[in-house]
Symmetry: D2
Subunit: 477 residues, 4 copies
Amino acid sequence: MSAEIKGLNEECGVFGIWGHHEAPSVTYFGLHSLQHRGQEGAGICVTDGEKIDGHRNLGLLADVFKNGELDQLHGDGAIGHVRYATAGGKTLSNVQPMLFHFQDSSLALAHNGNLINARTLRRKLEREGAIFQSSSDTEVLAHLIQRGISDDFYDNLKAALCQVKGGFAYVLLTEDAMICALDPSGFRPLSIGKIGDAYVVASETCAFDVVGAEFVRDVEPGEMIVFDKDGMHIDHYRTDTQHAICSMEYVYFARPDSNIAGVNVHTARKRMGVSLAQEAPVEADMVIGVPDSSISAAIGYAEEAQLPYELGLIKNRYVARTFIQPSQELREQGVKMKLSAVSGVVKGKRVVMIDDSIVRGTTSKRIVKLLREAGAAEVHVRIASPPLKYPCFYGIDIQTRRELIAANYTVAEICEQIGADSLEYLSCDGLVEAIGRPFPAEKYGGITMAYFNGDYPTGLYDYEQEYLESLEESSLR
Amino acid sequence: MSAEIKGLNEECGVFGIWGHHEAPSVTYFGLHSLQHRGQEGAGICVTDGEKIDGHRNLGLLADVFKNGELDQLHGDGAIGHVRYATAGGKTLSNVQPMLFHFQDSSLALAHNGNLINARTLRRKLEREGAIFQSSSDTEVLAHLIQRGISDDFYDNLKAALCQVKGGFAYVLLTEDAMICALDPSGFRPLSIGKIGDAYVVASETCAFDVVGAEFVRDVEPGEMIVFDKDGMHIDHYRTDTQHAICSMEYVYFARPDSNIAGVNVHTARKRMGVSLAQEAPVEADMVIGVPDSSISAAIGYAEEAQLPYELGLIKNRYVARTFIQPSQELREQGVKMKLSAVSGVVKGKRVVMIDDSIVRGTTSKRIVKLLREAGAAEVHVRIASPPLKYPCFYGIDIQTRRELIAANYTVAEICEQIGADSLEYLSCDGLVEAIGRPFPAEKYGGITMAYFNGDYPTGLYDYEQEYLESLEESSLR
Amino acid sequence: MSAEIKGLNEECGVFGIWGHHEAPSVTYFGLHSLQHRGQEGAGICVTDGEKIDGHRNLGLLADVFKNGELDQLHGDGAIGHVRYATAGGKTLSNVQPMLFHFQDSSLALAHNGNLINARTLRRKLEREGAIFQSSSDTEVLAHLIQRGISDDFYDNLKAALCQVKGGFAYVLLTEDAMICALDPSGFRPLSIGKIGDAYVVASETCAFDVVGAEFVRDVEPGEMIVFDKDGMHIDHYRTDTQHAICSMEYVYFARPDSNIAGVNVHTARKRMGVSLAQEAPVEADMVIGVPDSSISAAIGYAEEAQLPYELGLIKNRYVARTFIQPSQELREQGVKMKLSAVSGVVKGKRVVMIDDSIVRGTTSKRIVKLLREAGAAEVHVRIASPPLKYPCFYGIDIQTRRELIAANYTVAEICEQIGADSLEYLSCDGLVEAIGRPFPAEKYGGITMAYFNGDYPTGLYDYEQEYLESLEESSLR
Amino acid sequence: MSAEIKGLNEECGVFGIWGHHEAPSVTYFGLHSLQHRGQEGAGICVTDGEKIDGHRNLGLLADVFKNGELDQLHGDGAIGHVRYATAGGKTLSNVQPMLFHFQDSSLALAHNGNLINARTLRRKLEREGAIFQSSSDTEVLAHLIQRGISDDFYDNLKAALCQVKGGFAYVLLTEDAMICALDPSGFRPLSIGKIGDAYVVASETCAFDVVGAEFVRDVEPGEMIVFDKDGMHIDHYRTDTQHAICSMEYVYFARPDSNIAGVNVHTARKRMGVSLAQEAPVEADMVIGVPDSSISAAIGYAEEAQLPYELGLIKNRYVARTFIQPSQELREQGVKMKLSAVSGVVKGKRVVMIDDSIVRGTTSKRIVKLLREAGAAEVHVRIASPPLKYPCFYGIDIQTRRELIAANYTVAEICEQIGADSLEYLSCDGLVEAIGRPFPAEKYGGITMAYFNGDYPTGLYDYEQEYLESLEESSLR
């Protein structure tokens, strides 16, 4: 389902290319394939070796660049960003890449993730006289670099990377190089590819297919990789790292054609559906998925359960562009814009409805209602991931425990609230196995399960206090 | 697949409502669900019983009404239109509804379909002094009405309807009534629903679900139905009618959640896939569908063939909004925007690729190539309809026989051209049976098969000569 | 003063060029110099000998063509129009040039003036089956031509010109020629110029200076002049003509750098000021003019009266672009946007305030108040034209006698209403002499004085009844 | 003449209001009257006592706020800015007011003027780790404040004001107060007014008339004035000050209805014209002024010389909005957009053409040519200020001595270059006396004459070297 329906928002997507004479165009097409990771703003910065120029604005990528802005950008190195606002409000100054002009040089910076000690760092920096131009946590890194004591940019960058905590996949651009760096837990995906002699980096491998690049390798936790005239240079800013890939990338965020840590997302989702069918079977006439992110799991469930997979829910393809909402009266009359239940398909049938997750429960309740109004005889909800009970602090916008229905109600209570005939979730083990333990030697196979079990791989810094309070407030546990 | 990829374009969608105090809003939401039928222009006209106002413009519905234009429209009766340009160029004057102001009254007119004697009628009208404001065939009806000899508007309308030939689903609005009329062959779908006491008409029943309306009945060929303060009045402008519903509505155009002549579109498509699996089985590892219109058939094929159904092709959801195209050089490097093949899914696999139809063959060729580049071991193309050999003159934009690959090459030749390992089409009988003969007593069960077998249900009028020439030119037959 | 302040609106300006390879650009710059004649809409049509294309929209010329629309227009012949809405509402369909596409030809039409029998003609045409696309009176001519019985376009055009009554300066464009025609009374100005071998026509000669053209001659009443590949062809559609040039062009509308019937407008206005000083002297310290149209008369008055001419009123140059209006409360606090009185200049002084005319009196009242608030000791208002008592039906927007203060109150009453210390108008004779009797042998020297004395040079047709009623209603006369 | 013609550009206008419940609207209307001081960008910041919000963009004020942005701004205190780019490029980040968000507070900053040690200060600040978000010199002040060592904001502000050199009229906004400050030489005008209990500050007093405010006093050099809930508090950040008001404000920049240091601008200009007539009489038939800024001087000249004052040059009122320029070919054919000479007025006449100043000479040459082409028999140019020989570093955009024609050629040479029959300038003494020595005890009566005689009232700091080099390069002196 699209972000605005679900209340579960990815933060961003980054893309960069070094050594290609159509760098801005390739970046545009790369970002286009990452648009699902952020629809609130977009931007591209480019260097011709002398200076860095850029353009960014609020809105979808295509709208940001609709008046020929791309033709104004020239150079062989470029980075780009599509944004959803995790931290920092919805204003132009927060749109990335951020571009900083110093006396003798420039720096562009794009960031996917969320820093968990940004508030502390910013307070300290402001006390020392720093002026921030945005409310985004991204800008902190630039100030840390600028205040670095070394004469060497890379030394200052490494020192700065050691100070920021949380989830981050950074792509930076100077006049001389493109640099990427991943946080020590590898929360956010970041991969390297190649088109001829040019290097590309992207949040998801789907971007490589779109721009005709070959996959080279994933960026590893703790790495800082520099691309310059001499090629790729792999370096580390720290080595005490682990793999703790965000499991929600597999469950919900990433495009099904992307591979994360070598695991294809569609395939992982289909296996979640298969496992779910094994763990939570039900007598029914058909399986339907909530479009778009639950389609793969629904197919897997149907195959395993030997039930027909049907298009019982249709999503309006044009909904992203509409700003006109039905009045309260029309809503009560049944006017709906995003999702339709297909009565010709579900009427009189016992339906298994597969969804990837439940956040607040309101959407599930609405869909169950749609299906019943369309004549479904029974609606059995099956969720292809475990109950979401704990917030994410590393870059997904589910930061309030109070809003998570599973943090406050039992499965039986949720089932009743959403009006389903039955409700079952995939188990934690089921999810880990479905993803397939990309790093078998590491905890949970190298993925983060914190949203489901509270087992955060890092300290929580600025969020510690608020997290503890939310645990106490919660009616469950 | 979306219109711009395929080269197969629906012409329009119409919507109307009578007797609802939020008529313009309901029309907006109704049109929104019909946006797939036309993305080039949109408009709404509304009457408050005294006058008719309207707004229309080029572009998507949401863009046309993005600056509060909807708030300017007030009244209990409204009609709307989303447009693809069948006849008449891409200019504002051709966007509908067309609104005509006479001295003492007004008339708004929305049209789905294509007239086949418009050129002749227009020539005659211009000779008599008529001035046309657009190049659209739609305007002809207004001139015929205006020149009617009766004092009664409905008499003149009926006389005018008897003069126009071809495919048409008209919705008209006067200060006193909403009127709809369907051509004598019922080429285009048009249905009636109800919200409380208000009547709605729409090109597809999916619009009823979206606005919370109940289905009442389909408009029958030759009917002219008036909705006014006294309710619905069913009348006929002629009675020598037949059913010849456009089969391509089932195959490609309509939304899967719509019912046409009582047949659910998704269900019909799934049955096409089932029949195709029976008629043209193949040893393979998986079935994939070309999104979006071939998904249902692919599911049907997979179920019948007992093969896994996989997401091997991903469509970029945001492509409709992008006007920036890759340069020739980038295209050669492999930059693509609309469709990605998922190598993580298809690599090393024998793939059955289901598509709803092949028009020029260029798209199929491209998709087969994508799949091979993504590592597919074999690509077996199966088309869920018979070969498209003859143009449509009733409202679909496939008017040149020269462009139809199946009119010029054998199936074996097409298979070679698109680079598939094998290619098979559904048979004509298979299609008719899959749709299910909604009018069993009529030829082909009441659907038009002309695109596949040249059996046009009407004379071709203005197109006769050009059609005959195209038959001679064609290398086949 | 600008149109929106005054309540006195010119209807339009026309421009055309034939035989110049940058015809659309020259038309743009010509229209730009005529922008004061209409700020509500603008358009240009162009022919390359094969077809006619055009672009038009609501708004100022520069806004209408701000997105490169001019680059889309190519050809050697072009006509253009800037519009103020005399007859016909403020909608796109009324913006000119109107472009009509017939089967084998096209016609573009631009009109400055107002027809006085358009309602009658339109009623008749609609009864015969005509459909009008606009509510503008301009379209009538096209229908009359189209219904002409001759095979020759020019014969039909002449016959049509004989049927329309009132004030009109037409410029037409076909694929083969540009045509201009003037009404039999010559109400509206229209002149011919030349740039190299190319002919230009324009509502005012200021356009010739701007595009580098030389003045050739004025179009005479009753003439129809054709410009084609063989040059200029002067013809008449009727010969029973007179000169009755709109005197308000001299008083208020035209640019001071234009010549009308050989008389420079600034010079005429200055002479009005001189005559006014002779007819209505007053003891005072300075003379100020209401910008912009009264500046020339104020200079004339000052020179004749031997008083200093001062800038006591300043107009904000940027006001045309602002759509934000002060709230009622702010207005009461004294917030004003258009005109400021300069207290540094007028404080403690006896001021002669020259204005070109008084329409409703509200503006004069406001300006007198501004001057008093700025400290003026005395404000003596002198109007450089006679009292406006009768409406214009030939193209100026003062059609309601009820609104004309001088039609309802004596000069003494008006003086009191506007709060002036004294008020005097120029006499009718004074105006005629100041303009200088361009056609000495004709009544009033060839100008229309109807607005001041009710002596209309033509019958009033559609307006007759309403005019007679207004005379009866009026409290004066 | 307008800025784009002349090559002489004012930098900015500022406006602020404290204690008015429609503060943003009043600021809008105040800025509207200052639009002549900057057309490249505009913005407004507002505080409700809790936070500061703002909106700014490139373009004219009316365009910046055309989509309801003003309705989003609420609060009792507001500041605004219209900008021409003196220092810092033409990008959004340089548009003011600049708004800085700190952890516990915000600061908005608007600046009229130019700092002459900004480069040095910025270099120093960047070395200490500061990151600048713009290339504007305005931002320097914010960094200086932020790095202040005191706990008291006002102490830090005063210390910062002591560090910046050059011309500045600052208006600042915090959640608690509006503050204004003027440089120690008082180069730029800044006045205080009152509407009821609310205080306003503005670059020119014309803004007070427009918003209905009464003039209270001018801000004096070295003052820092705070407006808060307790009213107005006058303070000084330094006391070793002088008056050195920019004389070009009187000559060219300010609106004629403004008073600067108690001197009305129109009156001063008229006196310049009178003095010029005395110093440089000529036998002629008429006097014309180059619109708009030379009108007052022309009137003065005409009165003193007892010659008729005529409108021999007409400026197109709509030119500010046009982005379409004539092609080279059309320009050569005589297409012009901005200014027309009125042949009906000047033909065969000996003309005295009054202009306020000559910068590069190109404009004067063009106007003389226009007048000759319009038939003027003689053109005698009289300039109502002394020859411009030295650049301004305090806020006017004439920073290159190489571009100043009078720095490189004698008056006789300039006369020949511009093609005039004679050329004379007002003397320095004449200018000082015409302005009227507002501070009689101070040098030049308290105004800056540096542009004419090189007598800069301050050191030149960052510009010293470049200035000395330019002196050497210059062919004169």
